[in-house]
Symmetry: C2
Subunit: 275 residues, 2 copies
């Protein structure tokens, strides 16, 4: 018998993956969590039927949400991750020698637990002594902490349910206040094919608040359309005006010095979304 897991990425298109077995499934107060063994992508974390991360392609998302902002800031010490309970972003952050403290604020403690149990190659840095893991509402956490962080990463699920507030202008204002005077942040901002309106809106919202706003892209096979965007808001540092010599050799599989800049070269139809 063959078992296939299908995610409907929109009403009209989906990705379907052959599975070996379902390793875990539970419904928490926030969402349905599933951990599936797939043949193509290894183990896959699925929240409310939506692929969050897989062992085989997670490196792209986690490197790109982390190293682009962390190499844009000349000396990132104090980092906040909102969401990202799988630990992939944290694993990349602690590769930066300047980092002294990482705070991960994940609303659903079960995501952390499941990732620790089933995704050791992704969650491996959650026990690092520099890392503090908090199970609470990221929006409230950001509102309570002012002028504290060098870099904030919004490593959220899609803008449905608990994550809706993470895509609001009000939240971007709170992030601005939670950053130090030269701080910057990055949010994952969905597919430039399937989420055009969201990207336009988020970009304009961030642009009103931050002096420097830039969108960048990468290719991620298991995410809708395979093409993914991140939007950066920065108080002082421009990701395209960095000293490239500061991009030290860290162990990556996607990110390089060249990719840092070329990720901001936008296809014409994406550029047009930001006008």
């Amino acid at each position: 018998m063959e078992m296939w897991f299908t995610e409907k990425q929109t009403e009209n298109v989906g990705i379907t993956c052959k599975t070996e077995k379902t390793l875990y499934m539970e419904t928490t107060q926030y969402q349905e969590i599933a951990l599936i063994q797939t043949l193509q992508f290894g183990r896959m974390l699925v929240l409310d039927g939506t692929v969050q991360t897989t062992e085989n392609d997670e490196f792209i998302y986690h490197e790109m949400i982390t190293h682009v902002p962390l190499f844009t800031h000349p000396f990132p010490k104090n980092i906040l991750v909102v969401g990202g309970g799988d630990g992939g972003a944290v694993r990349e952050i602690v590769k930066h020698p300047s980092v002294q403290k990482v705070t991960l604020v994940e609303i659903d403690g079960k995501v952390i637990e499941v990732s620790k149990n089933f995704l050791p190659t992704i969650s491996c840095a959650l026990e690092n002594p520099k890392v503090e893991v908090l199970v609470e509402d990221g929006i409230q956490y950001v509102k309570k902490h002012k002028n504290k962080f060098d870099v904030i990463l919004i490593d959220s699920t899609d803008p449905i349910g608990a994550a809706v507030g993470l895509f609001s202008k009000e939240f971007y204002k709170a992030i601005y206040e939670s950053l130090k005077e030269d701080g910057l942040f990055v949010a994952q901002t969905e597919s430039p094919f399937f989420n055009k309106e969201l990207i336009s809106k988020v970009y304009q919202d961030i642009k009103i608040i931050f002096p420097i706003t830039k969108l960048y892209l990468c290719a991620i096979p298991t995410y809708p359309s395979g093409f993914w965007s991140f939007t950066m808001g920065s108080k002082k540092y421009d990701p395209l005006k960095i000293d490239e010599n500061k991009i030290i050799n860290i162990d990556t599989k996607y990110y390089t010095r060249e990719i840092h800049k070329s990720a901001f070269s936008l296809p014409k139809f994406v550029k047009d979304l930001l006008k």
Copy 2:
């Protein structure tokens, strides 16, 4: 009743699209041709169950297989397209004012006929007076014509069935001889996630024959993994050393002057395939 068309992109992963109706289906001596109306991507041309092109995302593939080589050559006049019976590459080629003649050699005349009937926005330039359309074997055609073309595009299906020979070293040697002394060619070379061995082999084969060999990438939602490669072999001109002022304004939705260069910035895991 809902109808979904699923392409198994590998044995273990597929894309599935909701369909409105099947507009055409026929088995020729070469392949099974289907033309499906999908809700997400508009009309879709499917050969042997494999998505070839869709109305909504074809612009990416066709712009990238065309404008990167045509803007690498300073004065491309005589162009050959092998495959590409849908006409999308031809539509982009005739946007270049220097082009005097385009020869399209497609092995399956039915692909041309179906594209003319059902994909007018893609096939629209096939009747252009600069364009000659031949229904014959592209490999034999290339072998018969020496020292003739400025640019050759290998716009092939996957390396299965009739298209296998289009990925062979012997064919790349024939292309070398079919090009003028400053000619160059580009071939579509599959997904850097799912076709790693093919990419490595093709790159090495071309590198032995051509003094300049470069791989470039773009994001295409309906192609396996959403991430696609092209490999260029060039006798004289380097795509990264072009005079950018020669990149004139043509009507594109993906390709830009910036994209021309950034498409050659490879993620580390892709760079490693070429060693």
